[in-house]
């Protein structure tokens, strides 16, 4: 077999080298081929059949382990991944496929497998052999790397033998399909099952974060929190703001920058502008719409140009390089805004009448301790959506649930008329000094929910000695549900994270 060679992919050549530790070496395509190698070139299937397919299991496993590291050495690519997958499938030891537990056999099922980053994954599945201990649980990447999951994953209550958790590969992998999971039990039985990557990791992770069972805290602390943190870091590093073609010239020194994240319903911009047009104060502002879904950029530009022609209100438009949630769009928009005072405003929020901006700014002018203000937000039926935020259990956030203050009361309720400090404010409508925002560390982005992001910011502002005030004279309608994704799924994790961060926080006004 000496001198045989085959292309693993366009970039890598496998050459048999009996003297080498694994018997085969991988050469990058950039290296010149010797005449002997050229003469020995064959296709990959023949190369494997004539060579390593005849080796013993241990030697084949060593070869696969060696090849699985190629992505780390040469850089991963879909072509390399596919070549390695072919080698893996030709050489690996196979176990019986897992069948339904109704047939009485050992069960191994992967319900969800999500990529967190190129080397970490979140899995939810089940390995069960009638109560016998699972002694081995491994994931095999498409490139052939074998990852031991025992010690990584945590129990999951969905079914007997359920597990979920974060695991890491030693080498990057880019295969979407052709994953294999293997399990062995103390009874000596072993099975395997194929798996593919699923979309939308946060949906699975947030759902798991809301589970309540004996091991829930361990699942959240060891699995979910690191996974969400990595996704957040990745999103922050990958997501940038991109200015789109704007419309008209905003004032040179705007009094306020209205940072308005747009999601899904770009048509809401028309409704907001129809209301803004009646308010002379808006003419002194910079209107910055930040689109959280880059694929709608063209539609936004088109609508904005039409609306500018009709209403004459200058608009700045931006989008992001990757889909971003509402808090992330706010964070990116804040960095791009020019005014010294920012207003985070939901695209589903409509002012009841002109004058709300100056009313919200007045407490900042009057008291240097006030860093930001929040208005009275209303439902369409004149009930209060929120008059700032508060914490359900006493005056601290410890384990408590963030609550919308005076929610459900009529807008004219006496309690809603009292201006003053509030424990926290969400991002649906928050006026804040840009400098105060920066000194408090900006928006975090990890919660995913505007109210918890706002609450976290409020706590950090409080740590710097600044306050948030509620301004009842400023009344705006919030048509929640028109402008953003339903948020209920993310709430348990946000609540847990908030309590984790602020469990020891001192009492705040509220």
């Amino acid at each position: 077999m000496s001198g045989r060679a085959a292309w693993l992919c366009d970039e890598v050549l496998l050459v048999s080298e009996p003297e080498a530790e694994a018997g085969i070496v991988a050469l990058p395509a950039s290296e010149p081929l010797g005449a002997e190698v050229e003469e020995g070139l064959t296709d990959l299937t023949t190369f494997l059949r004539e060579g390593p397919a005849g080796w013993d299991a241990e030697a084949r496993t060593r070869l696969l382990d060696r090849l699985a590291s190629l992505g780390g050495e040469l850089g991963t690519s879909p072509a390399l991944s596919e070549g390695l997958r072919r080698v893996r499938d030709a050489l690996r030891e196979r176990q019986p496929l897992s069948l339904s537990d109704r047939l009485g056999g050992m069960v191994l099922g992967i319900e969800r497998l999500h990529r967190i980053d190129e080397r970490s994954f979140y899995v939810r599945g089940r390995a069960w052999d009638g109560g016998a201990e699972i002694t081995r649980l491994k994931a095999i990447t498409p490139e052939g790397e074998r990852v031991d999951l025992r010690g990584s994953v945590s129990p999951h209550p969905a079914a007997a033998g359920g597990f979920a958790g974060l695991f890491e590969t030693a080498f990057p992998t880019c295969g979407l399909e052709h994953w294999v999971f293997e399990a062995t039990s103390a009874s000596g039985r072993a099975v395997e099952t194929p798996a593919s990557l699923s979309p939308d990791p946060l949906r699975t992770i947030f759902a798991d974060a809301g589970l309540e069972f004996a091991g829930a805290e361990a699942l959240r602390e060891r699995q979910i929190h690191p996974a969400v943190a990595r996704l957040g870091e990745q999103r922050r590093s990958e997501t940038e703001i991109v200015e789109l073609a704007g419309c008209g010239e905003a004032p040179e020194a705007p009094a306020f920058s209205l940072v308005i994240p747009l999601q899904r319903r770009v048509d809401l911009i028309e409704h907001q502008i129809a209301q803004f047009a009646a308010d002379p104060e808006i003419g002194e502002c910079e209107l910055l719409y930040v689109l959280g879904e880059p694929d709608q950029g063209d539609a936004l530009e088109e609508i904005a140009a039409e609306l500018f022609a009709l209403y004459g209100l200058p608009l700045r438009l931006a989008t992001v390089t990757a889909p971003a949630g509402l808090p992330s769009a706010c964070r990116l928009g804040a960095a791009a805004a020019r005014a010294e005072r920012l207003v985070f405003l939901g695209s589903d929020v409509l002012p009841d009448r002109p004058g709300w901006l100056s009313a919200m700014a007045a407490p900042l002018d009057a008291d240097p301790l006030v860093a930001g203000t929040t208005p009275k937000l209303l439902y369409a039926d004149e009930a209060i959506d929120q008059a700032g935020l508060e914490y359900a259990e006493g005056a601290t956030a410890t384990g408590g649930r963030l609550r919308r203050r005076l929610r459900g009361m009529h807008r004219d309720a006496a309690a809603a008329a009292a201006a003053g400090p509030v424990a926290a404010a969400g991002l649906a409508c928050l006026l804040i000094e840009a400098a105060a925002l920066e000194s408090a560390g900006g928006l975090d982005g990890e919660y995913g929910l505007p109210e918890y992001e706002g609450s976290d910011l409020s706590r950090r502002l409080a740590e710097t000695g600044r306050q948030l005030h509620y301004v009842p004279e400023a009344e705006l309608y919030r048509l929640e549900g028109l402008g953003a994704e339903p948020e209920a799924l993310a709430e348990p994790y946000a609540r847990w994270l908030h309590a984790r961060r602020w469990a020891e926080a001192p009492e705040v006004v509220g």
């Binding site: 028309e270 409704h271 129809a274 009709l310 209403y311 039926d381 048509l479 549900g481």
Partner: protein
């Protein structure tokens, strides 16, 4: 100096006749006869009212068959959004076509007769292009308030609606959320806030819009005026007064089904009924089939079909009673004025603009809205009670003429122009 008033209407009566457009065009023709005002009439055309498209590529506004003071607007390539009452997404109909038209004409007053199929954004464009020009808007029904074709009739049972709210509107349209209806309300209000003066032809309509949020002082209560029809000669009719007529649009809100059921309930006592209806062909199949079946099954009914507006008096003179059985509130039905002009008492539903314009027992008779039995009893009384027809005929008031109406309107125009000038000077 002659002042120019631009009327904008959702349709031209020569394209397809309808009450509001007939009235608006009559006002235009009346103003044309005087020297103080130069009227321009801009009516929307194209589907669904007309299959015709714009005659000149690239020009969405063109003269109406060569007339110098009448134009048609063709919103080709724009989709009218019924929910929000305007062209969504593409605004170039306003910011290019209408803007050029306004800049070329520079009217002293812009009077919107209707924004259906034109769009509320047209008001915004007028304000943007002609910031100092007064805007007048005539309210013909409840369209800004009610998504159900402006009828304020509940969709689930056709009962009359007394109050619109996002929640109630969503009950009528379960596929639309209350928040969407709130958006609709705010959006339309934002455009109507640019109007300087509204004209309400009935107190019924005015009060509903005041409740909706338009300040009372911005609404002029002024009924439609009508161009005096040529003398009809002797309008007296001999006994027995047993011929009924129904005139105008045939749609689910005009109550022709109530009248036909009342006729059926009267059996052999049923008088003769002449049906002068228009636009049944535009209605939904189910309604059309229902009415055609009723017409066929009801004794004593003669279907006459549509009639040209100028012959309304002649048609009405051929009946004894004009029936207005609408199951919506109505505003100020022109058919009532036409009936009165022809010397015919009116039998009408006891609600809204009908009950306001027809006085029960004075110039007509009321029956319980939507109730065929109540209408049958009223018809029986009308055709059998001796002297009733003559007494009610004698109670008919003079019809509000177009000359009187135009005088009120132009005085309002002048007042608005004067106020605008004073504002500029100040």
């Amino acid at each position: 100096m002659t002042k120019r008033v631009l009327q904008i209407c959702h349709n031209h009566p020569q394209v397809r006749p309808g009450g509001a457009e007939v009235y608006a065009h009559e006002l235009h023709r009346h103003l044309r006869r005087g020297e103080e005002w130069e009227p321009i009439f801009l009516a929307r055309s194209g589907p669904p009212h007309s299959p015709e498209g714009a005659p000149h590529p690239g020009a969405r506004i063109s003269p109406m068959e060569g007339a110098a003071d009448e134009y048609l607007l063709y919103p080709e390539g724009h989709d009218f959004d019924w929910m929000f009452g305007t062209m969504r997404r593409r605004k170039d109909l306003y910011t290019e076509d209408l803007r050029r038209f306004l800049q070329a004409l520079r009217p002293d007053v812009v009077h919107f007769q209707h924004t259906l199929f034109v769009g509320y954004d047209a008001i915004r464009e007028v304000r943007r292009t002609l910031p100092g020009t007064p805007i007048v808007y005539t309210l013909h029904e409840f369209l800004p308030i009610c998504h159900n074709k402006g009828q304020m009739v509940r969709t689930m049972d056709r009962s009359l609606c007394n109050e619109a709210s996002p929640r109630r509107c969503a009950e009528c349209f379960p596929d639309v959320s209350p928040d969407e209806f709130f958006l609709r309300q705010r959006y339309i209000r934002a455009q109507l806030d640019l109007v300087d003066l509204f004209v309400a032809p009935s107190a019924t309509l005015r009060e509903r819009f005041v409740e909706w949020g338009i300040p009372r002082e911005r609404i002029l209560l002024e009924d439609y005026g009508r161009i005096e029809a040529p003398p009809l000669g002797e309008t007296e009719r001999p006994e027995p007064h047993d011929t009924l007529g129904i005139f105008g649009q045939v749609n689910p809100y005009k109550g022709i089904d109530v009248l036909l059921r009342a006729m059926a309930a009267l059996g052999d006592e049923a008088p003769r009924l002449r049906v002068h209806g228009a636009n049944l062909d535009l209605q939904e199949h189910s309604f059309r089939d229902e009415i055609l079946k009723l017409l066929e099954a009801t004794k004593g009914v003669t279907s006459v079909g549509p009639y040209p507006p100028e012959r309304a008096g002649e048609m009405m003179a051929a009946v004894d009673w004009v029936v207005v059985p609408s199951v919506w509130w109505e505003n100020s039905p022109l058919v009532i004025q036409e009936a009165f002009a022809a010397g015919r008492p009116v039998i009408c539903s006891d609600v809204g603009g009908m009950a306001e314009k027809v006085r029960d027992g004075v110039d007509g008779l009321h029956f319980r809205v939507g109730d065929p039995d109540s209408l049958a009893a009223t018809i029986r009384r009308a055709v059998t009670e001796p002297g009733l027809w003559r007494r009610l005929r004698e109670g008919i008031p003079p019809v509000h003429s177009m000359a009187e109406h135009a005088e009120v309107l132009t005085a309002a125009y002048e007042s608005l122009i004067g106020a605008q000038r004073r504002a500029v000077v100040a």
